[in-house]
């Protein structure tokens, strides 16, 4: 795989439906009500149910391995959390290669929705 610093990754666009929020929360065994119960989320001051952090990490991993392929080894995922990602948002991941040291590559990732940066971070991945 020919990779250079500055290379951009194909965008990943996620339609954050309520089903997506709920199914990912349960698939990550996260039963906090703000991820599946809209009434509870609104009562706690949120606009709607919203994505959980375990899913953010998983989506960032997916975004990078969709590009790097099944033989890439994900070494670490470091994310900072920004604005919430409510149901009915569209979440778009963009990224580029920011460092390269032999097979080891650092990808800078941003997941953005209509209100701002939902997640920003870096993924260190070992390419085949």
């Amino acid at each position: 795989m020919m990779v250079a610093v500055g290379d951009t990754l194909p965008e990943l666009v996620i339609e954050v439906t309520p089903t997506f929020v709920v199914s990912t929360a349960f698939a990550t065994r996260d039963y906090q009500d703000v991820h599946h119960d809209r009434d509870a989320a609104v009562e706690r001051g949120s606009k709607d149910i919203f994505l959980n952090i375990l899913t953010d990490t998983g989506l960032v991993q997916r975004f990078v391995t969709d590009w790097a392929g099944p033989n890439a080894l994900v070494r670490d995922i470091a994310i900072r959390l920004g604005v919430p990602c409510y149901a009915y948002e569209t979440l778009t991941f963009t990224g580029h290669v920011s460092e390269r040291d032999g097979k080891l590559v650092v990808v800078d990732v941003v997941g953005r929705n209509s209100i701002g940066d939902h997640v920003t971070g870096t993924v260190r991945v070992e390419l085949p």
Partner: protein, 301 residues
Amino acid sequence: MIRDVADQVIARGESSRRAAPDPVNVPMVRHWVEALGDRNPIYTDPVAAAASVHGGLVAPPAMVQVWTMFGLRCTRPADDPLGAMMSVLDEAGFTSVVATNCEQTYHRYLRPGEEVTVGARLTDVVGPKRTALGDGWFVTTVSTWYVGDEPVAEMLFRVLKFRPPAEEPVGDVLRPVVSLDTEFFWAGTRVGELRIQKCLACGEVRHPPGPMCPGCGSTELTHVVADGVGEIYSYVVHHHPPMPGKRLPFVVALVELAEGVRLLAELIDADPAEVRVGLPVRVDFQRIDDELTLPVWRVRS
């Protein structure tokens, strides 16, 4: 107090290790990849996985925390360091929480059948810091996942535990009902006078004003202008429900004036925690509009 507890919990080091309820398994992986839409074949396709660098099925590294989630019925163990820190911050009024950072490092991929345990330690408590959300403390824990005694993954997790700022007042303050009996009082506040009703017949002063002297029954009434100094006789700190035009919490004080009557008004510019019975106060006037000026108390030094 917060610092002391933080130092104690940090010094305790890693909690006892908690076992995942299930070994790493393909059904949970399948649910996860289906929900997240991850089509990487190394997680669920045995043939493709066998042909990959892994030589067989592996779990998504980002699932590491999933194996040891508390689930629907579990309670946090008593030695959980984040739980301990959260309760002490809750008690100190830093009641809201937002996660700020999650950094996971994977030493290797996990395979179906592996039994995972997790231990967590508190590494850092920094604060109080002024943030866009309010004043708060950054609390950092590090969790380590093990297979046997081999660490397989680590996670740094940081939350901001913050005190939500007082809400901005909504709406206009409630207006008093002005009657023939109280008109003189509100006319007084408009010109900066605290007027107390006085009986022309027996000379008794009283508040709140009324149509007839409760002492002698006379309806011949006048008023005096109070000096406006007194001491708190009783008070309440109003936390809930929200009141139109008021920022919560606020203090309502019943003040005994030097003239011998007691009068209710808001105590302004005072820390509710420092209010006490006997606190010396003086009157001030808060102009709302042309029609209405409210008397308020200020602490008298």
